[in-house]
């Protein structure tokens, strides 16, 4: 039942794209001038919204591309939209030109033939990207194949208020212990919010004995075995959560607000620079710092993808390419703006561009790249889907 729609989509004939691929970049830039690009991106964070508005000003000035930010409360809304358009037979002039995407949403769009491309590896700024050291060629283990272009690196960190917590908590087992001795002082966003499911995945990875199997699609046998420690952990943790686990914050920022209000002391974040940015924006007290787990934390890349029926593919590619420029990347990494990790290879940059990154003050609550350590790869998306469903049955329905 759940995947009927995808099955139906797979049976549909492949679509031929009208626009040229970016082999001739000058032609792309020419065609882009005057186009309006509707970028569907999550709109719940003021810092991100401001950054996207800045991107809009810059691509307008340099390329004559008008960027409209369609603010989503959930990226899945955009996937639905493209899917509905495909089902209605709308093969050009769709409502969406660019989507901020990764993980399960990317996997389902790629599978269903809803994406334009491959384009990412032909973008001029692609040669600056660190394809070796950063996970930009796979997205939650699914090969990217040039169907989406990376623009930011994310890694799980935990924010904690040094006014209330003695120091970093090095593992999920230690977090459970801490939560039991500080009842009501920890929570996580309610799955299926992406940060909430990220917490579940982080717990899964940290508690599991062997993690190799997580790179493969979940099967009934592997799923039961590998997730058993996770459910045992959650069964113990839930009664000691904020509000006894009877309510959860809706999203990451809502969870962050709870630290500001002094309601909780530790919160998960998927952006190493978020705490510093939030302190600058008066959204967190300046006593907040961050830590990572001893065995490392999950990391992934944020991408942009172009729907198959976009009417402004050239404009969308110009935006995707601009996002990879040293100027945009350095601005995104500036904690006063966004605090997102860069996808660029510092050795590939010119001296002046590299100096721009070196001059960045990462801020009081941001860990250095060495402290962050190597990120752990995301499990295959099938794990997240099943875990989120099971969480709903086990903890999402109280009565």
């Amino acid at each position: 039942m759940r995947f009927l729609s995808l099955a139906a989509a797979l049976l549909a004939p492949a679509f031929a794209s009208a626009q040229a691929l970016p082999t001739d970049w000058n032609a792309v830039v020419d065609e882009a001038r005057g186009q309006t690009v509707y970028w569907n991106a999550w709109g719940g964070s003021t810092a991100t919204n401001d950054f996207i508005a800045w991107v809009g000003e810059r691509v307008q000035d340099d390329y004559g591309v008008t960027l409209e930010h369609v603010k989503l409360s959930d990226t899945a809304d955009a996937v639905t939209r493209v899917l509905s358009e495909q089902q209605a037979g709308l093969t050009s002039g769709g409502a969406i030109d660019l989507i901020w995407i990764n993980g399960a949403n990317f996997a389902s769009m790629k599978d269903a033939g809803l994406l334009f491309g491959p384009f990412a590896e032909s973008l001029p700024n692609r040669e600056l990207v660190d394809v070796e050291g950063k996970t930009v060629t796979t997205d939650f283990t699914v090969p990217v194949d040039g169907m989406e272009s990376p623009w930011a690196m994310a890694q799980v960190v935990f924010m904690y208020d040094t006014a209330d917590v003695d120091g970093p908590v090095g593992s999920m087992a230690a977090l459970l212990e801490w939560a039991m001795s500080h009842p009501g002082r920890f929570t996580y966003p309610q799955p299926p919010d992406f940060l909430g499911t990220t917490f579940l995945k982080q717990a899964l990875v940290d508690l599991a004995d062997a993690t190799e199997v997580l790179a493969q699609p979940a099967t009934d046998e592997t799923y039961a075995d590998v997730t058993a420690p996770l459910w045992a952990f959650l069964d113990q943790l839930t009664p000691h959560l904020w509000r006894d686990g009877r309510a959860y914050p809706a999203t990451g920022p809502a969870q962050m607000q709870l630290i500001a209000d002094g309601e909780v002391d530790i919160a998960i974040s998927f952006s190493p620079g978020e705490a510093t940015t939030a302190i600058a924006n008066n959204q967190l007290p300046d006593t907040v710092r961050t830590f990572v787990l001893d065995r490392g934390t999950i990391g992934n890349a944020s991408f942009v993808a172009i729907p198959f029926n976009s009417g402004a593919t050239s404009g969308a590619m110009v935006v995707a390419n601009f996002l990879l420029s040293p100027e945009a990347q350095a601005r995104a990494q500036d904690p006063a703006v966004l605090g997102y990790g860069t996808v660029l290879n510092m050795d590939a940059l010119s001296d002046t561009d590299r100096a721009m990154f070196e001059a960045l003050d990462l801020g009081i609550a941001t860990l250095s790249p060495a402290e962050l350590g190597q990120a752990i790869a995301e499990p295959h998306p099938s794990w997240m889907t099943r875990i989120a469903e099971d969480w709903q049955t086990r903890y999402g329905v109280l009565q």
């Binding site: 569907n40 709109g43 003021t46 899945a76 999203t251 920022p253 500001a260 209000d261 008066n282 109280l398």
Partner: protein, 558 residues
């Protein structure tokens, strides 16, 4: 007044605007509910969507929540508004209630819900004001207030908005039942004010406010925006889940959403029917107790409740608005500080361009929807159709939005017409029109038709009479209707979200999108703008007539 053939056409237009989309939406929801959904490659009929719905683990609690919160909110709102009127009528408090009504009524549901959340949360303003000196809290207590599993916060948020609406409806009905004379007669027979009001005035009033009460009941049972802000999440009420399934990337979940919408409709109709039975029962009891001759002196002692309820409403409204205002300019504001660290216009500057864009879309949509509603209502009133229009007008208010809007959206996507501002304006019109009609119908009928006879005797056509006599004389109620219509349009969440395909963003949809992010400053900025957008037309409705009539005092009616 004779019907003009051209204008009779507009009555048909009104039926088309009100009943058309509701019926189309019902069809659009019934088909997928029974498994017929060609867009997802499904053909019915089958009961699979209902099986799927009832297999969903949260279904029992979410249905129970919809029924209990809806019923409690309606009952509490009705009792409070009746007590407020019964205890204050003829006193100075009554004038105060009347004066506060328009602003309270115009505050959009979402803004009211936000300000309530900012007040009553464990880290909210009330706790801050009392901490730590009275409570001993140096950090917020770990108690579940906003989003409690029983939905009490949701009920409170609904009551704040529904009491002003019911008060307005009661006040509109009052003059026709001549309460002063009735109350005087009862007083001469030795009845106190409150018991006289309930025995002699209330039965006549109730007959007139029955439909508004059903509308409140249906709305409270199926509300989405207030439930997103104040309602529980483990699980949420049925309507919130319907909207969630509607926007799931898995398009086949829409059949479950449709089945949920059908269940929602069944729930609302059953509860309204049960309410109707309870009405009969109360009438029977009332007929026994009323003529018994007992004076029920105890009833007079409830007046402090009415006074307190009225005060509480006004105080909550004013403090809530104040706290919203404070958050919009706050620097860091930690618990338990009563006031923020610093104050700046940073939040306003930061959102200026987004605000401007959302405001202009909001204004354009509200203006066009209200203008269209006004034309249709005036035309229909001019042709003076019989009273059956009343039921028709209540149709979109009693059939829940979550029932027929998803169906309408599915149909529009099928027709590839679900984009741009046009369909959104049309969707707003469905909800604006009833309120414009209800605000205008009584003053319109009360207008002395002898003016028209004079006009006709002087050889003026009905159209000329309409534009030179009737509309100018009714300027004040017409502007009030425009203000009410604008406020309704500004507050619409679901029609904008579902019908606009996400590309049309108004102050309300932006505020709700920000709600998921929890940035209080951003939420406060948008909620305040939303309230101002809804309030401004009321200010104009108050001020403009004085200006227009400065040199034409004879036209001011009554």
């Amino acid at each position: 007044m004779r019907a003009e053939p051209v204008l009779g056409f507009f009555s048909v237009g009104m039926i088309a605007v009100l009943a058309g989309p509701v019926l189309a939406g019902l069809i659009g929801v019934l088909l997928p509910a029974f498994g017929h959904f060609p867009q997802a490659g499904l053909t019915g009929p089958t009961f699979q969507p209902f099986r799927d719905l009832f297999d969903w683990p949260g279904i029992g609690p979410s249905i129970r929540l919809s029924v209990t919160t809806g019923l409690i909110a309606t009952l509490a709102s009705l009792i409070l508004s009746l007590v407020i009127v019964a205890t204050t009528q003829g006193t100075r408090g009554f004038a105060a209630v009347q004066a506060m009504l328009a602003p309270l009524l115009s505050v959009p549901h979402a803004a009211a819900a936000f300000s309530l959340a900012f007040l009553i949360a464990p880290s909210g303003f009330v706790a801050r004001a009392l901490s730590p000196w009275a409570t001993g809290w140096d950090r917020p207590p770990d108690v579940l207030i906003v989003g409690d599993p029983q939905g009490f916060a949701l009920v409170a948020g609904l009551v704040i908005k529904e009491v002003p609406f019911l008060l307005l409806m009661i006040l509109a009905a009052l003059p026709q039942v001549r309460p002063s004379q009735t109350l005087l007669s009862a007083a001469a027979l030795g009845y106190g004010r409150v018991s006289a009001w309930f025995f002699c005035v209330f039965p006549n009033i109730y007959r007139q406010i029955r439909l508004p009460i059903y509308a409140v009941l249906a709305f409270s049972m199926s509300v989405v925006d207030v439930a997103l802000i104040l309602g529980p999440t483990t699980p949420s009420s049925l309507s919130v889940n319907i909207v969630r399934w509607m926007s799931d990337p898995d398009i086949s979940l829409r059949t479950r959403a449709a089945a949920g919408a059908v269940v929602q409709l069944g729930l609302v109709l059953s509860v309204v029917a049960a309410w109707w039975l309870a009405e009969r029962l109360c009438a029977v009891i009332g007929r026994q107790v009323g003529p018994s001759g007992r004076r029920h002196g105890w009833a007079e002692r409830i007046w402090p409740i009415g006074a307190f309820a009225g005060m509480a409403l006004v105080v909550t409204g004013v403090t809530g608005a104040g706290v919203l205002g404070l958050w919009s300019v706050a620097g860091f504001w930690g618990f338990p500080d009563v006031l923020p660290d610093g104050v700046s216009l940073r939040g306003w500057r930061r959102h200026a361009s987004d605000l401007g864009k959302a405001l202009s879309d909001t204004v354009v949509i509200a203006f066009l929807a209200t203008a269209a509603a006004l034309v249709l209502v005036v035309s229909a009133l001019q042709s003076d159709r019989p009273k059956s229009a009343r039921w028709l007008v209540y149709l979109p208010l009693i059939i829940p939005q979550t029932v027929f809007l998803p169906g309408l959206q599915t149909l529009l996507i099928g027709a590839n017409a679900d984009r741009g501002i046009g369909p959104v304006i049309a969707a707003h019109l469905i909800f604006v029109l009833p309120y414009v009609y209800l605000t205008l119908v009584d003053p319109w009928r009360a207008w002395d038709s002898r003016y028209a006879s004079v006009g006709a005797a002087l050889g003026r056509s009905p159209m000329a009479v309409l534009f030179t006599l009737r509309l100018p004389m009714l300027l004040r109620p017409v502007l009030t209707a425009v203000a009410v219509g604008t406020a309704v349009s500004v507050g619409q969440y679901l029609p904008t979200l579902l019908i606009g395909g996400g590309r049309v963003s108004t102050l309300t949809t932006e505020a709700l999108a920000l709600a998921s992010g929890g940035d209080r400053q951003a939420i406060a900025v948008f909620a305040i703008m939303q309230t101002l957008a809804a309030l401004a037309p009321f200010a104009i409705a108050l001020g403009l007539p004085a200006l227009v009539w400065r040199n034409r005092r004879g036209l001011s009616n009554g």
